[in-house]
């Protein structure tokens, strides 16, 4: 099976993240870059399906030079090869542009199954799977907490508030996964050493037959118009327990709509 896993490098969720003052795009230098958390699950699922059905796992990532680190991590977990799309002109691309670029890459690699995380921790749009499936003309199977396939048909558990739906479709398909799907492996030392010898193809927009005017902030349909920094954390409220501490705590939680 030809499995492609999409991987994105994002600023570490644990570090302070900022937007740039000049064009309101993400300030990638302000925070440590890590692999998008959900992508670990997507890679793991790809590797498990490969272990069960054979074939190859290819990592595809669009991002700056530095995204090579995220790709290397995916390769060290066990993926076979990678394609890295990197081009200065891509900076600031929104979901629509990103999906066009990735669809073009997928046209080159071919695929039976495309696996991706259901959202990235930076933009949190969660729309890429749908856009890609539409562009590729294949079914989208979203929010999968379980994936099964016999090589021609694919069945997933689609996570929902009430439990899950069982959704069936035909391959080729695009599947987005949620955290519940598996427990991602850690790269082993052997995997880390092997990653350095695995092929990584680097492509520019021109290599994909695309023009710079089709990419980046200017070509994007959505843009950040304005933003405000999160207000500094205010001091907490201290409730003195005069026998009614429980009730006061419940009152507070209710006022914030937690209960």
């Amino acid at each position: 099976m030809n499995i492609v896993v999409l991987v994105k490098q994002v600023p570490d969720t644990w570090s302070e993240r900022r937007l740039r003052a000049d064009d309101s795009t993400l300030d990638r230098d302000a925070a440590d870059a890590v692999i998008n958390e959900l992508d670990d699950y997507a890679i793991e699922e790809g590797l498990r399906l490969q272990e069960a059905h054979g074939g190859e796992v290819t990592i595809v990532s669009m991002g700056p030079q530095k995204a090579a680190d995220a790709i290397r991590k995916a390769l060290s977990m066990g993926a076979d090869k990678a394609v890295h799309v990197t081009d200065e002109a891509l900076r600031g691309s929104d979901g629509l542009v990103t999906s066009a670029v990735l669809a073009s890459v997928l046209g080159r690699t071919g695929f039976d199954l495309v696996i991706l995380g259901s959202e990235s921790t930076d933009a949190r749009m969660g729309t890429l799977a749908a856009m890609l499936a539409e562009r590729l003309g294949v079914p989208q199977m979203s929010f999968a907490s379980k994936v099964e396939t016999d090589g021609s048909k694919i069945t997933i558990h689609r996570q929902a508030d009430y439990g899950y739906d069982t959704v069936e479709g035909a391959l080729p398909a695009v599947v987005s996964v949620v955290e519940k799907i598996n427990e991602p492996r850690y790269p082993s030392f052997k995997g880390i050493m092997a990653a350095k010898k695995k092929p990584v193809e680097t492509l520019s927009l021109a290599d994909l037959g695309m023009d710079a005017s089709q990419a980046g902030l200017a070509a994007s349909a959505t843009q950040v118009v304005s933003f405000a920094n999160r207000p500094p954390r205010a001091a907490g409220t201290i409730v003195t327990d005069e026998g009614d501490g429980g009730a006061k705590a419940a009152e507070f939680l209710a006022s914030r709509k937690f209960i």
Binding site: D69, R72, S76, Y186, P187, F189, K190, I192, A195, K196
Partner: protein, 385 residues
């Protein structure tokens, strides 16, 4: 000279740090307080090839160096769950076996040590011979094809978890009768070998033991390396020990410092976070510098060791152990001060960590013995003993 780690070393750091986060200091203290061990972490790290990164690839190791092994221990300790037995099993015993063992001994022990499926402890300290190894009284005598070992050892870590202990004994030269050190791999189930745990006031899951060797009969191939060359072999193992002890201390100190800094940014007693007061900020900055200096010397020692320069590595490893002990004690002490009363709670566990890093000033070699070494070997000063 190069201060940039390779992509693989950076990736190893990240992978080990991830694994460490899964367990953390809460796991470490819980296991220590309930008499448990760090077995799950040990085995998972072993399966990922982290425990044996320094051992030869042909015997199941990672084929990398001590630098990589120190990365593993530093990152686990920085996550709060350093594995003490890494100082012993792959670093001391694995190194000695890989460098001086016969092909049969390597085949027998290295794959197990590398995968973590077996632990080899190390016993040199005796009740009457700690810092002074010339006073070792564990003696091996030849009896036909066998060795017969008799003696006592003290403070030996992890014997209860180990499949064997690498015992430093002495053999009598058949002609002159002078005693010369020799190393023996003694299975923990050998008849005549027994041990009991010591009650210790340091909070770590690895227990220290008193060992009794009562005419333990061992086959000829229990002798590791050559009879006469044991001193050299011993030093080959002790440099990795010192570097790894430094890695453990540096990692623990990183944990404590991160804890202190996190707290100092959040905790507000007057109108600003306490980290804004120079009374706290400067001491934290100071210990950060001391910690980085110690870490740098540890890395220098590891690089020299991996380059095959045992002599230069020896001096650097001793200096690194000295610096790492002093820096980690100061870091944890300052972290305790920064956290105020909460530092003394069991949940935070910094008081317990202070005893652990404090041990590094004594073991595996005491501060004074390092100063003696530097005074004599680096400075050429005369000896008092």
């Amino acid at each position: 000279m190069n201060f940039t780690e390779t992509d693989e070393q950076v990736a190893l750091r990240a992978a080990v740090a991830d694994l460490g986060r899964k367990y953390g200091y809460a796991y470490f203290t819980r296991q220590a307080r309930t008499g448990g061990r760090l077995t799950e972490l040990w085995q998972e790290a072993g399966a990922l090839g982290f425990i044996g990164v320094n051992l030869p690839a042909e015997y199941g190791g990672g084929g990398a160096g001590l630098y990589e092994l120190s990365i593993v221990l530093e990152e686990l300790a920085a996550a709060g769950c350093g594995l003490l037995m890494m100082v012993v099993s792959p670093a001391i015993c694995g190194t000695i076996l890989a460098r001086f063992g016969t092909p049969e001994q390597k085949q027998r022990w290295l794959p197990k040590i590398a995968s973590g499926s077996a632990i080899m402890a190390f016993g040199i300290t005796e009740p009457d011979a700690g810092s002074n190894a010339h006073k070792l009284t564990t003696v091996a005598t030849r009896d036909g094809d066998s060795w017969v070992l008799t003696g006592r050892k003290i403070y030996i870590s992890g014997v209860d978890e180990a499949e064997a202990v690498l015992i430093v004994g002495r053999t009598a030269d058949s002609k002159t009768g002078t005693l010369r050190p020799a190393l023996f791999a003694v299975p923990t189930d050998a008849p005549g070998f027994s041990f009991q745990p010591l009650e210790m006031d340091v909070l770590m899951p690895e227990k220290q033991h008193l060992l009794f060797l009562d005419e333990v009969r061992l086959p000829a191939d229990a002798l590791v390396g050559e009879e006469g060359a044991a001193l050299l072999q011993l030093f080959a193992g002790l440099n990795p020990e010192r570097i790894m002890a430094s890695a453990m201390a540096v990692g623990s100190a990183r944990y404590a410092l991160a804890k202190a800094v996190g707290y100092a940014k959040e905790r507000t007693v007057w109108s600003v976070p306490i980290g804004a007061h120079q009374g706290l900020a400067h001491p934290l900055a100071q210990v950060k510098i001391e910690l980085e200096l110690a870490r740098l010397m540890m890395q220098k020692a590891a690089v020299l060791y991996d380059a095959g320069d045992d002599m230069a590595a020896g001096e650097a490893a001793n200096m690194a152990k000295y610096a790492a002990a002093e820096a980690s004690i100061r870091v944890v002490d300052q972290a305790i001060q920064s956290l105020g009363g909460s530092s003394m709670t069991s949940e935070v566990g910094l008081a317990a960590m202070l005893a652990n890093v404090r041990t590094t000033r004594i073991a595996p070699v005491s501060r004074e013995m390092i100063l003696n070494f530097v005074a004599q070997h680096s400075l050429g000063l005369p000896k008092s003993y």
